[in-house]
Amino acid sequence: MTKKEQILIEKPDLKKAEDIEKKAGTVEVFIMGKSYKVPAGLTIMKALEYAGYRYIRGCGCRAGFCGACSTIYRKEDEQKLGFDLACQKVVEDKMYLVQLPFVPAAKAEYDIDKLEATESTIFDIYPEIARCVSCNTCTKSCPQDIEVMKYIQRAVRGEIAKCAEISFDCIQCGLCAMRCPADIKHYHVSQLARRLRGKYLDIKSKNLAKRLKEVESRKFDSEIEKLIKMDNKEILELYKNRKIEAEEKGPGGD
């Protein structure tokens, strides 16, 4: 039995599909140039599926975190290209759509343990950042609205911490790199900046170091062993009566 036959066993509810179209109204989209009518209000991803596409590439988390579904679109009668994520952007009437299946940008290889976080570290590994012509196309193509050009400028100046901070929300979809006239691989550059900052610049936790030593000296082993050996009633009592910090002090954190 083929996959397609299997799907048809569960009879498609065409009535329901018609109802959806009636209720929401339809818009016309052009998927790689071909016209399809889809219900209004769908995301680009769901619109493609509605039209009959089954994703292999171009679909990952479906929630805006993974950067698999970077999409380039243009609206009829407009010159300008738009950039977004197919899982986040809602279709509009007369949209021309195409997705990037893969980004062939080169990533440098390095051993983070052998690097130092100096003003020239990023530059030494990704020297092409010096070629930035400040056109800001990267920023304009970022679906996360990150100030991409600004963080590249920070990288050029050797300001690792700032580059890491500005770039933090990067989902590595690669649209910036695909648009850059200077062939900068922005999202790889900022990955390096964040790792350098996390490893070398942020102050480390003393509490953690202390706790780690206690765990290594097996300080908690016998306590936990005692809990493991308890019968259900005993541990239930202990659990019920444990003090809850969030309740006493209100929500935690800073």
Partner: protein
Amino acid sequence: MKVTDGYPEYMMKSIKLVEEKREKNMSQPVKPMSMKAREEALSKHHPDYMKGTKRKLKVGRDKGMLLYNGIVDLLEAKPVLDPKDVDLSKIDYDVDLLIIGGGGAGTVAALFAYESGVSKDKILIVTKLRHGDANSMMAQGGIQAADRPEDNPTLHYLDIFGGGHFTNKPELARALALDAPGIISWHEELGIMYDRQEDGEFQELSGGGTCRNRMHSAKDYTGMELMRNIRDKARNLEIPTLEFCPVAELLMDDKGQVAGGIAFNLETFEYYVIRAKATILATGGSGRLHLANYPTTNHYGATGDGLIMAYHAGANLIDLDTIQIHPTGDAYPEPLVGILSTEKIRGLGAIPLNKNGDPFVFPLEPRDVESAMFIQECKQGRGIVTPTGMPGIWLDSPMIDIIHGEGTIETKLAGEVRKFKRFGIDMAKHPILVYPTLHYQNGGVEINEKTETKIPGLFAAGEISGGVHGKNRLMGNSLLDFNVFGRRSGIYAAKYVKKAKIGKLTLNHLDKYNKMLKQASIKPAKSAPIILPEYRGEMAISRALDIF
């Protein structure tokens, strides 16, 4: 329909009530529930306890076990691979360690196997989508580790065990609690940017069911920050990775050991025979099966393939009679339905409210209890129903800025703010609407402390495994899980590899499984694993031909 600030007028009226009562709601918090009240809420309103969601499995090692219908359907389906179609005499990849799944657990496993002496050209990661396309990438709220002086691993253990309704395998819960500080320390070495105070100590929040604030976070992109760092390290080491090549079935040998797998190239439809001395199953969860008809927060490839192929090979399953529904899936607007709004929103102080603007539950009960209370409130008519008929509960996010100062939401919940802003909703100004969504596979393939399954040569780590969280997982323990058990699987598989000897390769276990289906008088209408979910429009499918 008139829409203001992203909400239709009737929803705005309800928001007015939320605003009027905000001050009062903040000053008079609802207390945590008693154990008895918790049990009552669960038994009445959680799908785990409701009739019709589950049935007994009729085939294989765990025959008679009660499981969710959607999982039984696949376990009682025909193995997707026909052994006759595969030529085992030609080996495409001959490695020491096959890792199935390129998410958090699989990648961590590869790094520690490498550190434990398996050479990188003898490791192979195969993954269904891209390296890093996984639920790991999507986890927002944080990762637990008891490292503050006010806290300790014993308390963490107690939270894990109580949260799991005392059903966890104790040795796995212990490993999770005790390994946690070491994992955070490894992350510091990798260069993961955790949220810190000025003195370098971590900013730690509480989560549902935790008795101390021990949630480490990286804004609300914690999983993404972990996954992209770990993946960067794997890429720097050039650990071989095959993308868009899911393993469809495990490979065995004549001694009954797992000896690799058959991968399927999604683009060319070729198969590859992968022989391995040890195999780590790190295929993740199964949200895309939409058990009990819930929408899901999970990534596209989360179809439970690992459960099916491990069961075909004779491994056993536990705790799959429970699913985790996360209380705060998005209920509005329609394109976001099912997507997660992080528990961190409640961790930072936002309170769930009904349509009258009244609180009805302690905001940080364990997830199953919190969900059950949301469902109850909606069933009793105090939810807000969206224009598409979806019920929901307000989560009063503006409280966060009132508690922690203006701008907190913007900086600490950047991803959430961005998500709602696309639809004209400012969560710093107005509450968001939530309803439970299918989030996590609590159980899975049973493992021990060394991540061994019952089948020699087969290890499992991450969401695919069962026993760590018992019948319910707490927030911040899944990012921890994939690190703790991913690491352990890499280390123990590396040890195993040194002694392992593979015999003659076979796929006989699939023939045997087909026979068992026949003996149980099951006439499978489907085949499994399913590899990807089917979301094509019904009109398009109904007219599709099978001629090309």
